[in-house]
Amino acid sequence: MALLDLKDVNAAYGRIQILHDVSLHVNEKEVVAVIGPNGAGKSTTFKIIMGFINYLGGEIEFDSQNIVGFRPDQILGRGLGYVPQGRIVFNQMTVKENLEMGAYIERDQKKIDESMDYVFTLFPRLGERQKQLGGTMSGGEQQMLAMGRALMTRPKMIMLDEPSLGLSPRFVTEVFEKIVSLAKEGLTIMLVEQNAARALEISDRGYVLELGRNRYQGGGHELLNNQEVKMMYLGGG
Amino acid sequence: MKKSFVLILGFALALTAAPFVEKSHAMDKVSLGIAISQTGRYAEPAGRMVNSYKLYVDQVNAGKGWNGKKIDFILLDDKSDKQTSIKLYEKLITQDKVNLTIGPYSSGITDAVANVLERYKYPTMAPGASSGIIWKKGRKYLFNIIAIAQDYQKGAIHIARDIGVKKIAIVGEDSLFPRQSAEGAVEWAKKLGLEVVLNENYPRKQTDFTALLQKIKARRAEALISNSYFADAAAQIRQLRELNINLKIFAGTVGPGLPKFAKQLGDTAEYVLGFSQWEPKPAILKRPGMKEFIAAYKKRYGVNPNYHAGQSYASLQIFGDAVAKAGSADRDKVWKALRTMKTTTVIGPWKVDDTNLNQHEGLTFQILNGERKIVWPKKISEVPYKLPMPNWKERGKN
């Protein structure tokens, strides 16, 4: 059964329409990659789901409920976590505070502590550096922190926007390893990636967008080996 | 829609014509105009003056009027602003065509509007102005009533000399009236052989004087001559106490004369010297009509009149006498009458010299047990002054 379901979604930044009738769905416990060349509307898809930008039409359902018009905190409350692009953490706050902010909607201190332990077991490095300011961490650590923060509410599903953007190769590998291990624990994951090859490799399924439209879809490995998809990145495909 | 927009614009522009409608006054009345601060920073003292004006006008209108004519009292608000005040006197003179005018409140504004009054030859009483400089510009139509600012600290400095003070500090707000008062204080100090160790001004909105007072202490001044209004005088005496600076004399000008000074400051206000043009004490001052005026004022407004109220009432009494003597409200005749006549008001005798200055003698009082007691000049003093001020520590705790 589809946990997240988008049907014919249209969206715009101000006056520019970015998405044209985009449809996609994510089943429970699935890893789905959304890929495509620059300007394909991948990140926009996430932002429309979270309610950040102008919604023009179409249906967005999460957990069998229409979430169009919900505020981000309400969507989060339904169990959909989101890690925005650019590994933005709260620079002037410690790792621990960053994680606490992730659990802002949770008021039960015991549950927060449990989530915190859970995140620390997932990302031991965060546990070691609880007191460090977010802004002083390395890029890879910040990405871990951003992911950990999104996991604090113990969501059913998380959306990762370009988790490997701007990271050095060593950290890229580490980030993808973490994603795989999260998936193994049964978390539903949707990710947008520039690094299409890496993303498709770990995904059950993938969607390819181009200029705000659905272009291809299929199994992760199927798309990975599709020459047309590869060529699309450099035109003429 | 466009039509209505144009209509609204048209209406708004038509409104702009309103200032151009001239009024004319009935001939059977004497119109008396004033623009005074009902809002803005001078609203409070000016308000007491307005009280007196209304009282006087109602009294006269209930009686025989001026030469049988009722008074038409036109009251405008100058927002404590010079530009507005000038405009308003021009309005009173050329648009409302009043017969006589009374001056506004504060020396600065009076100095500004005096030019217009002079040009239009309007004999004007100036109960709201005390800076001597206003009368040093050869003006013929503005009449002084009260003691000039230069003499506000005369009593305090005499007392200082009498109790053996050698060094005094003079501070004051940086505006026309306090500076005139300071100028007088410096002159009196020179005459009486006191050394002025500090003479400084501070801006109008100043509330924190700790550094200034500490500076006074560092200069070893024994007395502080403060040419101040209410807020700054109150702040200074409070902060003297806070800093435990023990001076022999603290002499304010306008501030201590207000009833709220003693009321709000409690025993901090004790022993403070202040200056007053007049006090509602008929038993001591013995001016004619004083008792009746005080009673009527108190009945109508619930409080005793202070000197602002007294001097403004007096100014209308003088006008009344002048109109009676001139036989009409004709400005030229009234002016001639004012220049030559001699009369007595609730605040004392009135007769001007060539420069239109009246020799009114003010008085210096001291706050004792929360009451203002006249202590100088000696001939009208109620009680002997109690000075030097006792140390702060020796005072009873609040």
């Binding site: 925005p84 709260f90 505070e97 902010m101 802002y104 | 001004n201 550094a211 806070e242 709000q264 609040n398």
Partner: protein, 329 residues
Amino acid sequence: MQEKAEIRSKYWLALFLVAAYTVPFGIGIYTDNVFFDLQWLADLTTVILNGIMQGGVYAMFAVGLTLIFGVMRIINVAHGELVMLGAYLTWMFFFYVGIDPLLALFLTLPIAFVIGVLIQKLLLNAVVGGPELTPLLITFGLGLTIIHIVEAIFTTDYRTIPYAPDALQISESINIGRSKIISFVMASFISISVFFFLKIHRIGKAIRATAQNADVAMVCGINIFHIYMITSGLAAALAVAGGALVSIQFGFNPETGVLYTLQAFAIIVLGGRGHYIGALIGGVMLAVIESLISFMIPNGTAMVEIASYGMMVFVLLIRPRGLMGPKEN
């Protein structure tokens, strides 16, 4: 190159501050206002201590301004008017009901909080994130309105609340007013409480998070409009508390607010816009400079205002982020 400019601006600011502190001494020596004896040193100490006490109160309401700026990038030019309003509220409770000015805080602070929330809800929420000048004009108009409403009710009379009038003797010749010390202690207490609220409390942390990045805060499930209102309420409460503490020391009338706005703004520019500790340090530094100028320069009291304005303009020019403010991009 950017790093170099950064370091250069730091040196300029340091130089400026050193000059700000030493010039009064220089002029003082030149004009014979400095005497090298113990008595004078005691006087100087008193003046500086007074400045610090004063600065504590300034800092408290400046912190309110910096909070609003940090969270919403709005400069609330009606902040000083809220200080003035606080003084009047305290005065009313004191004179009409007879409540001790400090106890009255328990009543005035909730009122202030509600006022802050209402201002935010009715006027500012709609313009957060829009053109920067709109909120400036709106709060400016609001300030004007508050001044004249208060004036219509209370007139322009100066009012004071006599409170703890005596001096606390620290040594033979160093005395400080009790009301000043009480104010300073209260201001410190409130500032530190707010600091810990921001540091420890869940909502306090959310306020900091929103200030750092509103978008991510939203992603974390923080309703930022809710946070805006709480911030505004908190800032108004700090302003009103400042008013209460000012009212037991000084006279006030409806116009005094403007001065406090400029002072608070000078403080947050110096300390670093949006920076909490910066505002506290800035407040004390500014007040001390003001005291020194007033104490040592002939007619210095008149020049005190120049200190605030000059400080503000200079710091904006040489180092817009002030002492500890975050870097602007």
